[in-house]
């Protein structure tokens, strides 16, 4: 395999994404985990751009880093979880079990997947494959029923979260 500039850029992006994903799990402070997660989502947005999925790259940055992570940070702020005394995480046997399980899962998946996929080198899709025109036309023709179902789901999510977060007056 030749060391092309694309490969170097991909390696840097992937390394940063992997590091900050580890940071999400490793940091004790929930705010730091959240900021690591924001960084991971940004890098994933760049990787979507690199895959020529421009539409979904924009959506990733707007929806995940813009909306979902702001919600997370808001709840952390409301519960005051930045202060570490609220939740002192003790060391317990779950950590060993979890790490062992993770390593086993990694070995299992890698041994099954990587030997097959290592042969696939060049992307086959056309460059305009992820453009808004293509996504829009498919979303509103072939996938119009799932699209409507998702809109109902989002409405239910709004109503449900309002009901759950409402303070009981009694």
């Amino acid at each position: 395999m030749k060391l092309t500039p694309e490969l170097i850029i991909f390696g840097m992006l992937a390394g940063m994404a992997a590091l900050s994903a580890v940071g999400v799990v490793a940091f004790k402070n929930a705010v730091r985990s959240a900021l690591c997660l924001v960084f991971t989502f940004f890098i994933l947005g760049f990787l979507y751009f690199a895959l020529h999925m421009e539409m979904l790259g924009i959506t990733q940055i707007v929806v995940y880093t813009g909306a979902i992570m702001v919600l997370f940070l808001f709840v952390i702020m409301l519960l005051n979880l930045g202060a570490s005394h609220v939740l002192e995480e003790k060391s317990d046997p779950k950590k060993v079990v979890g790490l062992t399980f993770g390593v086993a899962l990694a070995v299992l998946l890698a041994s099954q997947i990587v030997p097959i996929l290592i042969k696939v080198q060049a992307p086959k899709a056309m460059p305009q494959f992820g453009s808004p025109q293509v996504i829009g036309s498919i979303l509103f023709t072939d996938y119009v029923y799932p699209f409507e179902a998702v809109s109902v789901l989002l409405l239910l999510g709004i109503v449900g979260s309002v009901l759950l977060a409402k303070r009981r007056l009694s």
């Binding site: 999400v24 979507y48 997370f72 399980f101 899709a125 992820g130 293509v134």
Partner: protein
């Protein structure tokens, strides 16, 4: 990204997914557990998009390739709804117990 093999994207996706799994197992803060679930969803999104880009592409196969992108759109929408409801539940539990350590929640224990 023409010089990058598909295995690179899939390896990154796999690593992120496993990090999320380990985080869900070892962390006790429910908000961090939620973040790890988001990490897993994003790892799967990356795998979907990488496969969509590398496998399906001739003009006759645009629909199969678009299926991967559509799935990512729906995963994002479902994740948004899930986060709204889940964080609402965490807020409600915090108001009830003043404590959100998942190892000490036993409301359903009967």
């Amino acid at each position: 990204m023409n010089g990058v093999p598909l295995a690179g994207f899939i390896a990154l996706s796999m690593f992120m997914f496993i990090t999320g799994v380990v985080g869900v197992i070892i962390r006790r803060n429910p908000i961090v557990i939620f973040m790890c679930i988001e990490l897993m969803l994003n790892a799967v999104n990356l795998a979907f998009l990488a496969f969509a880009r590398y496998r399906f592409s001739s003009p006759t196969m645009v629909e199969q390739g678009a299926a991967g992108q559509m799935m990512v759109v729906f995963v994002m929408a479902v994740a948004a709804a899930e986060v709204a409801v889940g964080l609402g539940i965490i807020m409600a539990i915090y108001r009830l117990k003043e404590n959100i350590d998942v190892d000490e929640l036993n409301l359903l224990k009967g």
